[in-house]
């Protein structure tokens, strides 16, 4: 060991003859990661003595994929720029999609409105007319999906259908039907459905859920069907981004990510229809890039190592694709700040860099104006350009896993992994993901996390520039605000009235009857869902059928 290194192992206050520029007793308590893990002032080889290069790191493109899933990483293919868009009526979102495509975006991502996320039609009495088209785009039938992708070449890009669990089968079926009409065969249709069990049961609350034990059946039906019919489609993207946005730590994010993947896998294996290697390769994930720059990079690396371990050891996966974690990353909306909103541009850029240094395959740079409104056109442009600057100017894409081997990063990667396995074990001891959802345990955990997070900001322990430090009386930046089309509800309602008159209602009734039978018999619902949407059955009609069979589940949220 070089002379002097050993001294760094001694706590700073006990060192003799070394100059320090701080008062350790005063500041030490603040030196924690974003997940509250205490950190030393410097890391050395001693902190990673137990790490085996071969077993724990490997090379990029080789197991356990800690350093990335491709040997040459971004030299082979830059990450996909995939912003998340949707508002107003489908025709308006279609214009936004076309703009994004022309700006060089290589993947689309559909943000549905809250009405659609609930599995309701735009004219449903459970929704207010003003709920339609405000937080995303309404899609009630195949007609809306057709309008959404009018003139867009689906063979040239991939799409994320960010559908909630109860809507995942019908909305994906609508997308597939549009692709087929455009001449893109199912064998080539490329993209992802979000389809994460936790999305509407805890991350984002809807009132139209069925009980989680039945909901997971629908989720896994889509996985199972796509594994056999659409080889390029990822029918689930475990969205730990959304878990994290509720205030939990980086390692809790990873623990729940695996707990959920285990839940899906067990549900499929219980059916004895497919072997692990026949469906594990279609899984994908969607992680958050939060504000602690190095902790997030460590998290992406830990995620890949854990995924590999889980799939090869527990499920005995042999196909490398089963154990290779493909990452879609989104920069954290909850780290963005309402006050002095232009500062968010910088936050997003740091988080983008963390995602890239962490080896993401696809990236959504959240728009700087999201604390105020849905993204404006300028906000989207800036997000796309932020990513292109990272791709073409920073040169960080030249070398795979450029930070691999850093003492601190490798120590933190292992530390997060250890804590994540512990958290996963807590969930498994309580019966796994469905059990902790149904019992309300997970909701209580998240409430605790929310409160702790906020308390730290309230006390000033977590600093947020512009909110609890460097505040200004008058906001120095004037930024435009996006206003969705106030007529969206009325327009969509009129379209639905017309649809219900024009479609072949006997055909719709027959398709829905078939879907009901398949559902009750416990067969895979996806083929029957495809037939129903092609007959122009609506999203609400399909989801109501499932709600009738399984009843509506009330979220276990209280004080």
């Amino acid at each position: 060991m070089p002379q002097g290194i050993a001294q760094w192992e001694i706590p700073v206050e006990e060192r003799n003859g070394m100059e320090t520029n701080m008062n350790p007793s005063k500041q030490n308590s603040q030196f924690v990661t974003g997940s509250d893990i205490p950190v030393k002032e410097v890391y050395t080889a001693g902190d990673v003595a137990e790490l085996s290069m071969e077993r724990d790191l490997g090379l990029p493109g080789s197991a356990p994929y800690t350093r990335g899933i491709y040997p040459n990483m971004y030299r082979g293919k830059l990450w996909t720029i995939r912003q998340f868009s949707g508002f107003g009526i489908p025709e308006e979102t279609n214009q936004r999609f076309r703009q994004e495509y022309e700006l060089g975006q290589t993947g689309l991502s559909i943000a549905f409105d809250a009405v659609t996320e609930n599995g309701f039609d735009a004219d449903d009495r459970r929704a207010a007319l003003t709920d339609v088209g405000v937080g995303g785009v309404p899609v009630s039938s195949l007609r809306d999906m057709e309008a959404l992708f009018e003139g867009i070449p689906l063979d040239k890009l991939s799409t994320a259908v960010v559908a909630m669990p109860i809507t995942a089968c019908p909305l994906t079926a609508m997308y597939f039907a549009v692709a087929e009409k455009k001449g893109v065969p199912l064998s080539l249709v490329d993209g992802t459905t979000q389809n994460d069990l936790l999305l509407t049961t805890i991350c984002y609350n809807t009132v139209g859920n069925i009980p989680p034990r039945h909901l997971i059946r629908l989720c896994v039906d889509l996985v199972e069907w796509c594994a056999q019919n659409t080889p390029r489609w990822h029918p689930v993207s475990f969205a730990s981004y959304n878990y994290r946005e509720n205030g939990i730590t980086a390692y809790e994010e990873l623990g729940l990510l695996l707990a959920n993947a285990i839940g899906y896998t067990e549900e499929e294996l219980r059916r004895h229809r497919l072997k692990p290697d026949e469906f594990l390769p279609v899984y994908s994930v969607h992680l958050a890039a939060h504000s602690d720059f190095l902790e997030e990079i460590a998290k992406f690396r830990a995620a890949r190592r854990m995924w590999h371990k889980l799939m090869t050891e527990r499920y005995r996966a042999k196909d490398p694709h089963s154990a290779m974690l493909r990452l879609h990353v989104q920069t954290s909306g909850s780290t963005l700040v309402y006050q002095q909103p232009l500062n968010n541009v910088i936050r997003v850029a740091y988080e983008v860099l963390a995602a890239v240094l962490g080896g993401a395959q696809s990236l959504h740079a959240t728009s700087y104006d999201e604390p105020l409104c849905l993204p404006t056109e300028q906000g989207v442009l800036l997000s796309i350009r932020t990513q292109q600057i990272a791709q073409y100017e920073t040169r960080v894409a030249n070398v795979a896993d450029p930070l691999g081997g850093s003492y601190y990063l490798e120590w933190l990667t292992s530390e997060l992994e250890k804590k994540a396995w512990d958290y996963l074990q807590r969930v498994e001891e309580k019966g796994g993901i469905v059990a902790v959802l149904e019992s309300g345990w997970l909701h209580r955990e998240w409430r605790r996390a929310m409160a702790e997070c906020e308390a730290r900001i309230n006390k000033g322990e977590t600093k947020v520039v512009g909110t609890n430090c460097f505040e200004m009386e008058e906001d120095p930046y004037q930024v435009p605000v996006f206003r969705p089309n106030p007529e969206a509800g009325r327009i969509q309602k009129a379209k639905l009235e017309r649809l219900r008159l024009e479609r072949d209602n006997e055909k719709v009734a027959a398709a829905l009857k078939e879907l009901r039978e398949v559902t009750v018999k416990g067969e895979n619902v996806m083929q029957a869902t495809m037939e129903a949407v092609k007959a122009y059955a609506t999203l609400g009609e399909i989801c109501d059928l499932w709600r009738e069979i399984y009843s509506v589940w009330r979220l276990p949220i209280g004080l």
Binding site: A128, N246, V337
Partner: protein
């Protein structure tokens, strides 16, 4: 504060916007400050007004992170007033642009707390303004 004078607060989300972190964090802070908080989550404006009256609350806290705050927030106030609930304090929070706040005040939203507002500020304000309203409701306006 004696139990019979504890402020009663209804925390609700008008419409279908499903973000619950903000409303829950504020609910917990108000509860920890000694208030009785009823968290109902998503409800229609009509349901919120009915709940507020049935539960005899002093304060209604509303939260929206979708862009329909200009429609749904005034509608809650309207439904409350229509049913004769005059002195119930209505406050709101969420992703509400600065330029909308004046119009919401005109529509009867007593105070809009912007994202990033310290919890202490919200608690102190509700304690003070809610208490005033509670007294007026019991004794009639001065």
């Amino acid at each position: 504060m004696p139990a019979e004078q504890r402020l009663r607060v209804l925390m609700a989300k008008p419409g279908l916007d499903g973000h619950w972190r903000g409303a829950m964090v504020v609910s917990m802070a108000l509860r920890d400050a000694g208030m009785e908080v009823i968290y109902t989550g998503n409800q229609t404006p009509e349901e919120i007004a009915v709940t507020a009256i049935e539960e005899d609350v002093d304060v209604v806290g509303l939260n929206i992170l979708a862009a329909n705050h200009m429609q749904l927030l005034p509608e809650v106030v309207h439904r409350l007033r229509e049913k004769g609930a005059r002195n119930v304090l209505v406050v709101a929070g969420g992703t509400i642009p600065q330029q909308d706040i004046a119009r919401l005040k005109e529509a009867g939203i007593d105070r809009v707390f912007r994202p990033g507002t310290k919890l202490d500020v919200i608690v102190d304000y509700i304690r003070q303004a809610g208490q005033q309203g509670e007294t007026e409701r019991r004794e009639g306006p001065k």
